[in-house]
């Protein structure tokens, strides 16, 4: 079971948990990313997320299939939100279920790391002083997405 989506409304993590859990799953892991108040020492008021929606959804599905292959058929549900988000809003949620805890937890880590590295989603941080800046992880990290 794999479902991945870019959404424009609030993410409900419990709905994702319900989606991946079934009789055969004894372990479910949940990752929730939220907007925090400070980044790189600057006070943040919110983050505006945007995406290449069709490719982002395709890339998330590819990553989820990779996780299912690497981690013994884990069940995966991912939602990433776009639009203007404010402090503590949920930007991304990843639910993973498996019969055992190790695949469920390891797959979740794999999914969020690959999502951040490969899925075409962008964020523009809004700071308290009114400035807005596109976040560029490559400015501090040399890794680039690859196929």
């Amino acid at each position: 079971m794999i479902r991945c989506a870019i959404v424009t409304t609030c993410i409900d993590p419990t709905a994702l948990l319900s989606e991946v859990t079934c009789r055969e799953t004894g372990a479910t892991s949940l990752f929730v990313g939220t907007v925090r108040d400070v980044n790189e020492g600057r006070a943040v008021t919110g983050i505006e997320y945007s995406a290449y929606t069709s490719m982002a959804q395709d890339e998330m599905v590819r990553i989820a299939h990779e996780a299912a292959e690497r981690f013994d058929g884990v069940r995966v549900a991912i939602e990433h939100r776009v639009g203007m988000l404010y402090l503590e809003d949920i930007s991304v949620a990843i639910a993973v279920a498996h019969a055992r805890r190790a695949p469920a937890m390891d797959a979740n880590r794999y999914l969020i790391e690959e999502l951040k590295r490969r899925v075409p989603v962008w964020k523009q941080e809004h700071y308290v002083d009114g400035e807005r800046v596109w976040v560029d992880p490559t400015a501090t990290c040399a890794s680039m997405p690859t196929s």
Binding site: A51, S91, W122, K123, D136, S147
Partner: protein
Amino acid sequence: MTQLQVLLFASYAEAFGASVVTVTVPEAATSADVVSALRGLPGGQALPADPVLAVDRRYTRGVVSVAPGQEIALIPPVAGG
């Protein structure tokens, strides 16, 4: 020569002032031709040395052929999560 449309997002859309631009490239064009043509447009100086391209919603590696009808996109550094 042929014309191709290129999708732009985030900081690149801001730099070019558009979410889609048309570039003129040679027949039997490659991704390198697309990048070269983009550099010649207003805003093109914002591109890094080796910008990331996607064709039909997949990342490309190295130089690949591109043709009208394909969905070509220039991908700024991603920052999801």
